[in-house]
């Protein structure tokens, strides 16, 4: 197995009006695994993305109580989130003789180096673990494979993150990059528009940020828990004094790039019931790829995208907003998270009400345990903590983070309102 194809675009559930997912409840998440975390890779091959992806995969197998012989499929988001190691630094002996295994991990790299001899199906999914997870849901739900690993390594190399040294640019970015219009200013602009429309301000984000850190302090797999627990004691003054990145976005609105790897084991509902842990059934999967009408995404478009995500999640799963117990939308830039909260109408939150909601009791012990994972703000950038926490919550295995409200259904997703992928989960397949 020398290469892997991209998962077919027409198999993502990206449109409204598709009805209940035909494979609802046929697939389940039965295993979770995460490697340790660190801020940056130090060049030690034992902590490379490849090594840590294998470790995460093995942990997911152990969590499910099965051996690698049972794995017949692997889906990977093959690119890391960080920069390439680069040939100029020099590669290593095989299997670390290219970028594969260092700055990203392909499905075929994992199959070969983990000795997954019974794998017959592999796919790649671009951009996020979330995309790989929705592909995994479809692969198992449709019967194409029975028991699969879905993996991703983040990757964060020594040195500065995502510098853009080139002085030329082509394609659509020629219209935006020369004046600095990229994702960060777009998100900051969107938040500013939100505050102007609904009469709010950036200071009112503080309760949400502090609660994310608090939830992170109860997430042993997370980066801050393992490496920088002091950063979890963030105060309101700390948050308000944080350096502006692109006003009104400050440093503590941004998730921290880290080095780690994660794995989810998805199998059939029937097989999951025979495995070690309580099955968490996949009730629907959703993709959002919004089309922005110009080079600037307007607040109206952001709200339209979030509403569409929610509509698709509800329609395909048969759930209503009131039936969603655990809600873990992405928070990598915290300034768009309110869009998900309001788009889904979780706990009755309507447009413009998110900041009031943040000021209420959103602790995991409370009646509105929003983002019980602590998200990527509370655990470092992976974009999969929300899925991980949702499974743990539905299993009743979230430890100190376990919500005190009913935990029978969950929704998690990443990345932005415009571009994201989502799973609807439940303790029952129906």
């Amino acid at each position: 197995m020398a290469s892997t194809e991209w998962f077919q675009a027409d198999r993502y559930r990206a449109k409204e009006g598709l009805g209940v997912w035909e494979h609802k409840g046929k697939a389940a998440i039965a295993g979770l695994g995460n490697s340790p975390t660190t801020r940056r890779w130090d060049g030690d091959l034992s902590t490379s993305l490849g090594a840590w992806t294998m470790l995460a995969a093995q942990r997911a197998l152990d969590d499910a109580g099965i051996t690698k012989d049972e794995i017949d499929g692997v889906i990977s988001c093959p690119q890391g989130m960080g920069d390439e190691w680069g040939a100029e630094r020099g590669y290593f002996p095989a299997p670390y003789d290219s970028e594969d295994g260092l700055s990203g991990v392909s499905a075929h790299w994992l199959v070969k180096n983990m000795g997954l001899e019974n794998v017959k199906t592999t796919y790649h999914a671009p951009g996020c673990m979330s995309t790989a997870l929705v592909a995994g849901a479809e692969v198992v739900g449709s019967g194409e494979a029975k028991t699969i690993l879905v993996v991703r390594g983040t990757g964060n190399m020594p040195g500065r993150y995502h510098q853009t040294p080139g002085d030329t640019v082509g394609g659509p970015q020629q219209w935006t990059n020369p004046w600095g219009w990229q994702l960060i200013p777009q998100i900051a602009f969107g938040f500013d528009q939100y505050c102007r429309k609904y009469g709010s301000n950036h200071d009112r984000m503080a309760p949400f940020i502090l609660n994310q850190r608090r939830n992170g302090s109860m997430f042993p797999e997370g980066f801050y828990y393992q490496n920088r627990p002091d950063d979890l004691n963030l105060t309101v003054d700390d948050y308000l004094a944080s350096r502006w990145i692109c006003k009104p976005m400050n440093m503590n609105d941004c998730d921290l790039p880290i080095q780690t790897a994660g794995a989810f084991l998805i199998t059939t509902g029937e097989r999951a019931r025979q495995m070690k842990k309580k099955p968490v059934y996949i009730l629907n999967h959703v993709q959002q790829r919004g089309v922005v009408r110009s080079s600037v995404e307007t607040l109206a478009e952001t709200e339209e995208f979030s509403t569409s995500i929610a509509n698709k999640c509800f329609e395909g799963s048969g759930l209503t907003a009131a039936e969603v117990d655990v809600f873990n939308p992405y928070d990598g830039f915290t300034l768009f998270t309110q869009s998900f909260l309001e788009g889904f109408g979780w706990h009755g939150v309507k447009h413009g009400e998110a900041h009031d909601f943040y000021g209420d009791d959103i602790r995991v012990e409370g009646s509105h345990p929003f983002s019980s994972s602590g998200g990527n703000n509370g655990n470092g950038r992976t974009r999969w903590w929300g899925f991980y926490d949702s499974v743990q919550q539905l299993r009743g295995e979230a430890g100190d983070r376990q919500v005190q409200v009913k935990a029978e259904t969950a929704i998690a997703g990443a990345f932005t309102p415009q571009v994201s992928d989502w799973l609807v989960l439940g303790t029952s397949p129906d």
Binding site: R39, R40, D42, R160, N227, R228, D230, D231, N233, L234, T235, D237, D238, Y239, A241, S242, R243, M251, N252
Partner: protein
């Protein structure tokens, strides 16, 4: 000569993440020779205070990276030094009128030449 030394944390001080080459003993030594010492980092001020407290060092200031001008205003000195491991440290230091040393240069304790005067 009154010298103020500002230390970045991560990648600079030994108790940073990642650990840097400047040891806490170097900090203690500078302080014992009369330097005003503190940290200037993107780590939250509360986290900076905790790091100093855990090290048993009575710091004079902690500040976000953009806070060096305010530190200069608050603490009169003859020499202002910031040491860090990122271009951003250099940018903020120079903009505030601080001398800047990279973390590996800081590990050579260049401030001693002024403190010994």
């Amino acid at each position: 000569m009154k010298v103020l030394i500002s230390f970045d944390v991560d990648g600079c001080l030994e108790n940073g993440d990642p650990p840097g080459p400047i040891t806490l003993d170097m900090v203690r030594k500078a302080q014992a020779k009369g330097a005003i010492i503190g940290s200037c980092s993107d780590r939250a001020p509360s986290a900076q205070r905790t790091l100093w407290d855990r090290a048993g060092i009575v710091y004079d200031f902690v500040t976000p990276k953009y806070g060096l001008p305010e530190i200069m205003e608050k603490f009169p000195a003859d020499k202002y030094i910031h040491t860090g491991d990122r271009n951003l440290d250099e940018q903020f230091a120079k903009a505030a009128g601080f001398d800047f040393y990279w973390e590996n240069e800081g590990a050579e304790e260049p401030w001693l030449q002024y403190l010994d005067e």
